[in-house]
Amino acid sequence: MNSYHAIGRNSYLDAARSFFKSLLETGEVQSLLVPLRQDRTNDIMPTLVTDPEDTDKADPFSPSFPLNSAKLVSRLTRKKNRKRVAVFLRPCEIRAVVELVKLKQADMENLVIISSDCFSAFPNSVFNTGFREKGEEFTNEYISARMSASFTDDYNGSISEACRICTDPFPGIADIVINPDHSDAKQVTVESKSDAGGHILAQMGLDEAEPPKDGKEKRKKVMEELGRNREETFQSIQEQTADLEKLGVFFSSCVNCYNCRVACPVCYCRECVFNTDVFDHEPLQYINRSQTRGSLRMPSDTMFFHLTRMIHIGLSCVGCGQCANACPNDIPLSGLFMSVADKAQKGFDYTSGGSIEENHPLSCFFEDELNDVTGI
């Protein structure tokens, strides 16, 4: 099933672009959603490309991560249609798509998932001040540095918290994986990971190549490093939020803008309960609440909102870190949500985005289970 091919050009990005171009030229897919450098501004945004020539600005390896594209995949696939679409996604975006498929918000039937080993992302605030202007040369420079030092390079300080504690930067479910080559050959290795992917690659007439040799060892090293970071971060977050009072301090700068909810790929309700009449309290209610406590922090219901979000998405959280990225007041939400999600998922022996077949824990039940939950 797995076949390997190599594409060599002047730079990693050129090699990847020629792959995307010939992918569209095969006609196997009608459109391609890929991060693309926008004219004039240099912003890198997911762009739905149908003209093969337009892939010449694709920039899939950049550390820019303005939004989780899983929500866009949901928009593209939530209703059946016969046009096949290919999407380039980071591993965390794939996990979010898998969760959305299980929640009936997306469909994989006419979807071709292309991914790569993730080189981590910068928060928007970091990428947009200094790195965006450098253009595509920076992307090539960044991946070379990242690969040669196996993720312990100088850029480590710039990457976002969620990426520093990522649960899995390697794509699990994908049809095609395209990776910059670890040698200095300025080429990309393209690997088919499914029958559909293999079929598409066969149409493209690429040169066969040997599978990369040192992959496994490097992966193990990266995973160990991330695991250590995760342990450290979770411990510090748990100390910071050990009880409700401390949690209140943690959220004290929250302004209830709900950006974290909007940015979250697995928070999918069309109308969130926090936007409904339920939270249109009577004016008198605020005064009453203040009177029982002496004072009431406004806007209220902040902690209620975040705790509810933990309950709603804890089992589906894929650790993409977009909640923290979207926060206008820099609350380190990703560490908190990932640490809570880790506990919740372990409790149900569930891994979000792991497989399509595995049921979401709250969508099923068994008669004889969880007997330790009941009783006094």
């Binding site: 009072e245 209620f304 509810t308 804890g314 824990p361 969880l370 939950v373």
Partner: protein, 140 residues
């Protein structure tokens, strides 16, 4: 906390535990007044938000109680409730709300005595744990 009287919110299902509470009353079986009963049609309709709201608004403990497995009036509402409680049991202890403060029990319609005993035990346990939020100002 010498004179601490815990406040317990209990979500009880119409068909089993509420009837059991009624039976405890008609059989003159006493149980502590610390518990405030909220009758719901089924434990399966107890949204985790109700429980969070109770804790954030000053409850020291929450009890959810319904029909025994297999006895649910709506066939499987209590199984769904059990999964949600499991999720809350994984998440709330991160913020010092231990499992002892959030209980799920099955109390059938004829178990009036068991209902009174459950409330007795729970009030004792929560009294030992002490109040949940002494400084409630930040908590909401």
């Amino acid at each position: 906390m010498e004179n601490f009287e815990p406040r317990i919110i209990a979500f009880v299902c119409n068909w089993c535990t509420y009837t059991a509470a009624d039976l405890a009353g008609t059989s003159r079986k006493k149980y502590p007044a610390n518990v405030r009963l909220i009758r719901v049609m089924c434990t399966g309709m107890v949204d985790p938000k109700y429980i969070l709201k109770a804790f954030l608004e000053g409850a020291d403990a929450v009890l959810v109680s319904g029909c025994h497995p297999g006895d649910c009036h709506y066939i499987n509402g209590n199984f769904k409730a059990r999964r949600r409680m499991k999720l809350l049991h994984e998440i709330l202890p991160n913020f010092s709300i231990p499992k002892e403060r959030l209980r799920l029990t099955w109390i059938g319609a004829s178990d009036g005595i068991m209902f009174a005993d459950t409330i007795d035990t729970m009030v004792d346990q929560v009294r030992k744990l002490g109040p949940l939020n002494e400084d409630k100002r930040m908590v909401i």
